[in-house]
């Protein structure tokens, strides 16, 4: 059977673009094959074949976020999208770009940078990640405070449904309400409704000048006061990150109980004026502001990328971030773990990387349970973005989903992928 299937897959992508799946395991589940299609038509034929044969498929961009999701219940074929890496259309005067999904953000930055434009999606390790992967996982970084997330950037999307049907949703212009907002549905859907193959994205002008400051505080309470004052001011920062002592140490910055890392981007005169105001706010709150090197954000991102430790994505109210940082620190300390915490303080989107020895059975009662209990009341959540397989097999990485929303999610998934071709088992509620 395998060889017959291999023949048919080879007929689609060519022998040199079909590999044995042993090295492409997802959470220990190895697919039979990895196919590297050259274009949308080949993706369509691969999925058509998978649908007809009852195969389970996992789409893959750069593979940097393959740790996200529950372990797949089945896996036969990984479709690796790296060869779909072309710019489809770029007219700088439109301030939009259409690119294939397998293009890396690093390559895209080079294209856009020539015209002083930027796609402001900067999740940890963004340079190596693909456009499609970042959107399918709804990954974000510090810039979301100013520019929003994938849902705000994605204007149009071409995707291939579970049965191979090539489908387009949205538009190529910055404003469109023609039909349902399909790009929103695909963003963060982890490829469970279709494989994203092409995107049209809203861009922004690169700022003329950007400077960053670290506002250190002797206590979380002081940081909290400064954050509230900053958010209630007329300042327009691009990034407002809260970081804990572990992150400060890893950055090589002076260690305080907590700090805010803030950047301001505008014209020179405005950056200078806002920087002075930021310094005033920090002093008034009992801390101080110190300018950071320009490369700080790359170094900061790298602390939360890669495959080390257990990485949590915490969603909470903006007013809860300091309390959450304290809770993560306390739980980590109690169980002998090191913790790096950082995230968008203004929007309550935190990432925590926990490192050290903790038995797989202990995580749920020691860490996840208390965090999820704390966040349940305000509608927050804890997603385990990455962890060792032994732990993953014992937990639900997504956590509970509101039952009413889950009922709709199930009906949508059943409508479009009733036989479970796309990423079976990996999404919320093991769909």
């Amino acid at each position: 059977m395998t060889s017959a299937l291999g023949e048919r897959l080879r007929a689609v992508v060519g022998a040199e673009h079909l590999a044995d799946g042993a090295s492409a395991a997802v959470d220990g589940v190895a697919p039979r094959f990895v196919a590297r299609p050259a274009n949308v038509a080949e993706v369509s034929r691969l999925l058509g074949l998978a649908h007809a044969e009852g195969l389970a498929v996992a789409p893959r961009g750069a593979g940097t976020a393959q740790g996200l999701g529950n372990p797949p219940t089945r896996l036969d074929l990984v479709i690796e999208l790296g060869r779909l890496n072309r710019v489809v259309e770029y007219e700088p005067a439109d301030v939009t770009v259409s690119v294939e999904a397998g293009m890396t953000l690093d390559d895209l930055e080079r294209v856009l940078g020539k015209h002083r434009q930027v796609l402001p999606l900067d999740p940890p390790g963004w340079r190596a990640r693909t456009v499609g992967g970042v959107l399918a996982t709804n990954a974000s970084g510090p810039w979301r405070f100013r520019y929003g997330t994938g849902r705000d950037a994605l204007l149009g999307v071409r995707f291939v449904q579970a049965d191979g049907t090539v489908t387009w949703g949205g538009s190529r212009v910055v404003k469109s309400v023609t039909g349902y907002d399909i790009p929103k549905l695909l963003t963060g859907a982890l490829g469970t409704l279709g494989v994203i193959v092409e995107t049209t994205l809203r861009l922004h002008p690169s700022p003329e000048c950007e400077r960053s400051w670290l506002l250190g505080f002797a206590s979380l309470d002081l940081a909290r006061g400064c954050l509230a004052a900053l958010l209630d001011s007329a300042l327009q920062p691009s990034r407002v990150e809260i970081v804990n002592a572990g992150t400060l140490a890893a950055l090589g910055e002076p260690v305080t109980a907590a700090a805010l890392a803030v950047s301001i981007a505008s014209v020179d005169a405005a950056v200078a004026a806002e920087g002075a105001e930021l310094d005033r706010l920090a002093r008034a709150a009992g801390g101080g502001a110190r300018q950071l090197a320009d490369d700080v954000w790359e170094r900061y991102g790298s602390l939360f990328a890669g495959a080390r430790g257990v990485r949590l994505r915490l969603a909470c109210l903006a007013t809860s971030v300091t309390e959450l940082v304290a809770l993560v620190d306390a739980l980590a300390h109690r169980h002998g773990l090191g913790a790096r915490v950082g995230g968008c303080a203004g929007l309550g989107a935190l990432t925590a990387v926990l490192e050290g020895e903790c038995a797989p059975d202990a995580w749920e009662p020691a860490i996840l349970g208390p965090l999820r209990d704390r966040l349940e009341g305000e509608g927050g959540s804890v997603i385990v973005e990455q962890c060792p397989l032994a732990l993953k097999e014992r937990i639900d990485v997504w956590g509970p989903v509101d039952p009413q929303a889950l009922a709709l999610i199930r009906r949508i998934k059943t409508e479009f992928d009733p036989t479970g071709v796309l990423n079976p088992g990996r999404f919320v509620s093991r769909l």
Partner: protein
């Protein structure tokens, strides 16, 4: 299915004696929205006060296989809140409470019927505002804004309604109450909030909305630049955008509109100009000052007749008053009109404005323009008089040609008004059958019996006429669309 008279006592028990409009005169008020071309009087109008009542209403409609037509303030421009197939209209006008304002988390939760501008009014003193500002904001409801994903002049910088909706409370077509999203930004699972916004009441009826509030910018500068030709003005717009400046708003008005506004509300726009740009910059003072100089320089490069900068809040208000009330002065200009809402890529603005002029000349019609130039979102207003033989037909033809030109340039059928009944037939111009099939099947997950606002948003398809019958479970094979 026609409504059984037996449900009226049941509805009266549910809604109270003043919660139901049954008389023909009363129902006539609800026969159309602002696009008076489309009419359809509902069999009953329900005026609930609570979400629980809305849920009971939808359940009753589902049981009786009767269409549900959600309606906010009825200011839409697409015939979306009309009942061409009969049914029960649910008006949210009495659900107009602010449920929560949480400035520390920069959010508010309001009932669907709350008037847009009331929310900004409620938080302005504390330095905040709700960004979506459709021209109807003095009367349109936030639930309606969310259901149509309304835009407005300032969405050039701030984004459309969906970019500001954090969560929704919605009663689905299945009669279930769903709370989607919320004050906490990220949720695991599909972005159901994002999909429901802009669904025009075809998935469910929005009963409450949680929105993002923004801090009032430190500085605002509003200027008006007049040009001798639309072409010069269009090229100035493209140049501003290409220069990497994101104005808060960048609006264009042509000579016909300027004349009507000046006569109607004495806004004092320059007479004799072929086009006027209304340009607003906001943000930190130093940024606004630097960008204002660059915008002025770009305008000067495009042969302006005049550049006028508002120096007081009163002057700024007057500049905006003309733009905001443009729709209200249309009656002075024309007996009848068709309004287009298509979008083109911003770099194509000069090309499409040439095309608009050519189409107007070809059909001997006045096409007036007042629109969101910075977004490339056109609002050509095709003027005609139905009493003159053939003029209506020429207007319809011009409308079709205009839309085709926008799509050919890579544009979209509608930028902010929505689809409704007006534009449903045009979706196949922008989407392939597979794309429309996907949307039709998505709808079924919310509304299994096709009771929610039938005949809106999606085009009908001759091969699937069966699927359009209200109350019939929708069977949509994956190769077809309705």
């Amino acid at each position: 299915m026609p409504l059984s008279p037996a449900v009226i006592p049941e509805l009266r028990r549910l809604l109270g004696p003043d919660g139901l409009v049954v008389t023909p005169e009363g129902r006539m008020t609800y026969e159309c929205d602002m696009h008076t071309f489309y009419k359809g009087t509902p069999e009953l109008v329900a005026l609930p006060r609570t979400t629980a009542q809305v849920m009971e209403l939808v359940r009753l409609c589902r049981r009786e296989r009767v269409a549900v037509i959600p309606r906010g303030s009825g200011t839409g421009l697409i015939g979306g809140a009309t009942a061409p197939q009969g049914g029960i209209m649910i008006s949210t006008t009495r659900m107009n409470e602010i449920l929560e304002i949480d400035l520390a988390n920069r959010s508010a939760t309001v009932q669907a019927g709350l008037i847009n501008v009331w929310l900004s009014n409620a938080v302005r003193d504390r330095g905040y505002f709700f960004a979506p500002d459709p021209s109807s904001q003095m009367v349109s409801s936030i639930g309606g804004n969310a259901s149509t994903n309304a835009g407005g002049p300032h969405c050039l910088k701030y984004g459309v309604t969906v970019n500001h909706v954090l969560g929704l409370e919605v009663v689905t077509g299945a009669g279930e109450l769903a709370r989607l999203g919320g004050k906490v930004a990220d949720r695991a699972g599909y972005d159901l909030t994002g999909v429901t916004v802009g669904s025009e009441g075809t998935l469910g009826i929005v009963t409450a909305v949680t929105v993002r509030l923004l801090h009032t910018p430190e500085g605002v500068r509003t200027a008006l630049a007049a040009f001798a030709s639309i072409e010069d003005a269009s090229e100035a717009v493209s140049a501003i955008i290409a220069a990497g400046i994101v104005p808060a708003a960048l609006e264009m008005l042509d000579a016909a509109i300027i004349r009507a506004i000046n006569e109607g509300i004495h806004a004092g726009y320059p007479t004799g100009a072929a086009a006027v740009l209304l340009i607003e910059l906001d943000g930190p003072q130093a940024e606004v000052a630097a960008q204002a100089e660059r915008v002025a320089a770009i305008c000067r490069d495009h042969r302006p007749l005049a550049i006028r900068v508002a120096t007081t809040e009163a002057e700024r208000t007057l500049l905006w008053k003309g733009r905001k009330e443009a729709a209200g002065v249309l009656g002075r200009m024309t007996a009848n009109w068709l309004l287009q809402d298509a979008v083109v890529p911003r770099s194509k603005l000069p090309a499409i404005m040439r095309e608009v002029a050519a189409i107007a000349a070809r059909h001997q019609l006045l096409i007036a323009n007042v629109f969101h130039a910075g977004d490339g979102n056109l609002h050509p207003l095709i003027c005609y008089d139905e009493r003159r033989p053939g003029e209506r037909e020429r207007a319809i033809q011009a409308n079709e040609e205009l839309l085709a030109a926008c799509i050919a340039l890579g544009g979209s059928v509608t930028g902010e008004h929505g689809v409704g009944v007006d534009k449903a037939k045009n979706l196949p111009k922008q989407y392939a059958p597979a794309d429309l099939n996907f949307m039709a099947r998505l709808r079924r997950a919310w509304d299994p019996d096709n009771i929610m606002n039938p005949g809106k948003l999606l085009p009908s398809h001759p091969a699937c006429g069966e699927g359009l019958r209200v109350g019939a479970p929708v069977r949509i094979p994956s190769g077809a669309w309705v």
